[in-house]
């Protein structure tokens, strides 16, 4: 029966080509616009750590004095002492301190001019915690970390640039004034969004890229990194008179560090929350803190709070969806016209024994077919739209592509939209009174 309806639908579409073309065009344009923005949204709002993000948490507290009034509570970053206290307590399954800073990098013996790159000073759990893949070597050991060893892990990108992609473990990098031995080289790694920086690169980098930039090129043990690049750290914010020595923040009243913890069960997460609360209360009792508010969002909640997705992209998505709504209204009107034009034919079918549901189904089949054809057009327009997005030089331009789920949703959305648009006209058509129509033939 369905095949017969499709055949009828095809005949009907061929009969009034202009009206068919108008409807297909409306669906295609509406789908093209909304799928372009939805694909960008889909890529930007993806889970950077699928399967693991619910176990990664971002503890927050507020070390600022009581008379320092800004609306943000608790703060997205920590001071040195709080971060070190929480980290040295080792209450989580894994935990990583993170701070970025620009560092001068020279590869002796390559004859290349020095580069200014972003360095991540972090603790060794960073790599297993965030599933960072290694091509050669591996992470530094906890002993390296405690001993402030001058060792580093470099990105695959930097390894390609400096050493032609070979195994560079054991070679030496000159970081600012220090010689640092390479212990690990990463495989290409690009978490999207770049979740572990809670403020989207507004500290540390001179040109913030938001949450869609590339990870750092050099990774060093936390304390060794602070030593090597001392004087080049940037604060998120400070109170009082700020740092005594610019770029040296260990003893300054400044927020500049972030801590991530991995907690493998909800019970452990609850235990960590109460540990965090206990710490803050204790610090208040000691007179070091004025506020006791804490928070511990998981990874996806943190991205949501940090407004990782650019406002422009959200706005475009809303615009595109309202545009799709306009296209749908348009299609309802045209379908209504099309079905009622055929009232006579429907009257004959009804008189010959077709039930109302049968007429209804036949009309919906026609609407669905239009949606399917419109979906093909919409898919092509989406590809064109994504090409336009790629041509704009945005931080995430190179990430934008259509994956299988989005390809499938293009057609699902197109057919679903046209079926919804077809509901009302089909209902009207199935209510046509056969006798009245037969008289006018």
């Amino acid at each position: 029966m369905f095949a017969y309806y499709l055949d009828l639908a095809l005949r009907s579409l061929k009969r009034n080509r202009v009206l068919t073309a108008l409807m297909v065009l409306a669906i295609a344009v509406g789908i093209g616009a909304s799928m372009t923005t939805l694909t960008v949204m889909h890529i930007l709002s993806g889970d950077p750590m699928p399967g693991k993000s619910a176990r990664l948490y971002f503890p927050q507290l507020d070390p600022a004095p009581a008379d320092w009034k800004t609306p943000l509570h608790p703060r997205p970053m920590m001071d040195y002492r709080s971060a070190m206290d929480l980290w040295s307590a080792h209450r989580a399954d894994r935990q990583a301190l993170v701070v970025q800073s620009p560092v001068k990098v020279l590869a002796p013996g390559t004859g290349r001019p020095p580069l200014m790159l972003m360095m991540m000073s972090t603790t060794t759990d960073f790599f297993p915690m965030f599933d960072v893949p290694f091509a050669y070597g591996g992470a530094w050991t906890p002993a390296d970390e405690a001993g402030r060893a001058h060792v580093a892990v470099i990105s695959s990108d930097l390894n390609d640039r400096l050493f032609g992609g070979g195994n560079s473990v054991g070679r030496t990098l000159h970081l600012r004034d220090a010689d640092v031995r390479i212990v690990g080289v990463l495989k290409p790694w690009r978490p999207t969004p770049l979740f572990y920086d809670p403020v989207g690169g507004i500290t540390g980098s001179m040109t913030p890229t938001g949450f869609y930039g590339r990870p750092e090129d050099v990774f060093m043990p936390f304390l060794a990194g602070l030593d090597v690049n001392d004087g080049n750290f940037f604060q998120y914010t400070c109170w009082g008179s700020g740092p005594a020595k610019p770029g040296h923040l260990q003893d300054a009243p400044c927020l500049w560090l972030a801590l991530w913890v991995e907690l493998d069960s909800p019970a452990k997460a609850a235990a960590y929350r109460s540990f965090l609360d206990g710490y803050v209360r204790q610090q208040k009792a000691l007179g070091r803190f004025a506020h006791i508010d804490t928070d511990m969002p998981d990874l996806m909640q943190q991205l949501d709070r940090a407004h990782a997705i650019p406002a422009n992209v959200r706005l475009q998505t809303w615009l595109a969806l309202s545009f799709l709504a306009i296209c749908l209204f348009n299609m309802v009107g045209l379908l209504l016209a099309k079905f009622l034009q055929r009232s006579g034919e429907i009257g004959v079918r009804r008189a010959l024994g077709a039930s109302r549901p049968a007429v209804f189904a036949q009309c919906l089949a026609e609407a669905g077919l239009i949606g399917l054809i419109g979906g093909v057009g919409g898919w092509l327009l989406t590809l064109a739209g994504l090409w336009l997005v790629r041509r704009q030089q945005l931080p995430y331009s190179d990430l934008v592509h259509m994956d299988m789920p989005m390809f499938a949703s293009t057609f699902v959305l197109a057919v679903a939209a046209s079926l919804i648009a077809g509901l009302l006209p089909a209902l009207r058509a199935s209510r046509v009174a056969p006798a009245l129509q037969l008289k006018t033939l």
Binding site: L22, P114, G231, L315, Q316, F323, G333, L336, A337
Partner: protein, 406 residues
């Protein structure tokens, strides 16, 4: 033209009429807001930087220690001045649209409890004001003795005579003479000696609670924290080639430092890059508007054609009993006008709802009222244009149709 028969005909097609009206209403709401957003972007893109953008460029280097600052500045300035085509080269903290220099909250009393404004501090060596082409509106320019050195790791001299922009002066001291006024940032004190007509911040974001021109110029001698960024002035027609040569020259002038490729460009280029996303957004909005008007017009054409086809017999009868072609044409035009008017009335309300939502989530200002009549005119025109084809076809229906198969 009688409206009553048109209305009673429309009553028979309530659903179709409602659909077209809703389409018009949505189009009206999106159109008004999209045009308004484009206008907003264009205003933002017209930001007056206050400097001679076409003749200026910046060279930024990093990767040196503060102890080397004075030596580096001397070598860089001498080296850059030797680049052919360079009219002047000076040490500056930042240029408009370049990397941001110090941004901080200031207070009008030394206690620093209240910060009425977050401002950007520009620092520049003697000659920078001339090179930038800043226009003084009141007060005086800094004298040679006003340029003070920075000691150690300090950001500013203890007390600095400064220039502020007209916009910042109006914000801090509305309606009062700003000359001689003082303000503080942490432990540093600043005294206003002159007012600049314009000088924009480096990286303006409309979301930050910071004015686009809330800037302070602090005359400072190079050295210490003031090092690494150099203002280049050249003839507008030479600036791009001069900048290319200057970027290449850095490797010879100071091989030990790292050129910041991102921020070493002509100010025109930096400006173009800064507004790239705004331009892309405006472009996308124009695309949405065109597609929107196109789809709406097609919808009107489709439905009007259907109605004309459906009413061929009636049109024939009307023609047979004396209606002119003009009558038929005007009938369909009036019908369209009525539907569009109904849609616009709904659309105006919708436009304000949409604007309220946008204001809440995207910090957009209020939609000015004059957008509504303009949007209405555009949609009326669109409706009339779209219906013209089907209406002309209707007018061409011969009266003889009436005699066939009635």
């Amino acid at each position: 033209m009688q409206i009553k028969p048109i209305l009673s005909a429309l009553k028979k097609h309530r659903l179709a009429t409602f659909l077209i009206a809703m389409e018009i209403a949505l189009a009206c709401a999106v159109l008004c807001n999209a045009v308004f957003m484009i206008a907003n972007r264009l205003t933002a893109m017209n930001l007056d930087s206050g400097v001679d953008e076409s003749s200026l460029g910046a060279i930024t280097v990093t990767g040196f220690d503060p102890a080397q600052a004075t030596d580096l500045n001397a070598r860089m300035v001498a080296g850059l001045r030797a680049v052919p085509g360079v009219e002047s080269a000076q040490v500056i903290s930042s240029v408009p649209f370049g990397a941001q220099s110090l941004v901080a909250g200031i207070s009008l009393d030394p206690s620093g409890k209240k910060t009425p404004a977050v401002v950007q501090f520009y620092q520049g060596a003697p000659g920078t004001i001339d090179a930038l082409g800043l226009k003084l509106e009141a007060g005086r320019l800094p004298a040679t003795s006003d340029y003070q050195p920075l000691s150690g790791q300090e950001y500013f001299p203890a007390v600095s005579p400064v220039l502020v922009t007209r916009a910042l002066a109006e914000h801090l001291w509305p309606g009062q003479n700003p000359l001689g006024r003082e303000f503080w940032m942490a432990k540093w004190q600043f005294r206003v000696i002159g007012v600049l007509s314009h000088l924009s911040v480096s990286q303006y974001t409309e979301y930050a609670e910071q004015g686009a021109e809330w800037t302070v110029f602090v005359p400072t001698l190079p050295g210490g924290q003031l090092a690494g960024t150099y203002l280049i002035r050249a003839k507008p027609q030479d600036i791009e080639s001069v900048m290319t040569t200057a970027r290449a020259a850095v490797a010879k002038i100071a091989p030990e430092v790292v050129l910041d490729h991102e921020n070493s460009h002509s100010v025109s280029f930096l400006r173009e890059r800064f507004f790239r996303t705004d331009r892309a957004m405006a472009g996308m909005l124009v695309g949405v508007i065109v597609a929107l008007l196109g789809v709406t017009a097609l919808g009107i054409v489709g439905l009007a054609s259907f109605w004309v086809a459906q009413r061929r017999k009636q049109i024939g009868i009307r023609r047979a009993i004396g209606a002119t072609r003009g009558d038929i044409l005007r009938y369909f035009q009036t019908e369209n006008f009525l539907i569009v008017t109904f849609g616009i009335a709904l659309g105006m309300a919708l436009a304000f709802v949409l604007n309220a939502v946008l204001m809440k989530f995207y910090e957009l200002p209020h939609l000015p009222l004059y957008y509504l009549p303009v949007g209405a005119l555009a949609l009326w025109a669109l409706g009339q244009l779209a219906v013209l084809g089907p209406a002309l076809r209707a007018a061409n229906v011969p009266p003889v149709v009436a005699t066939r198969s009635v």
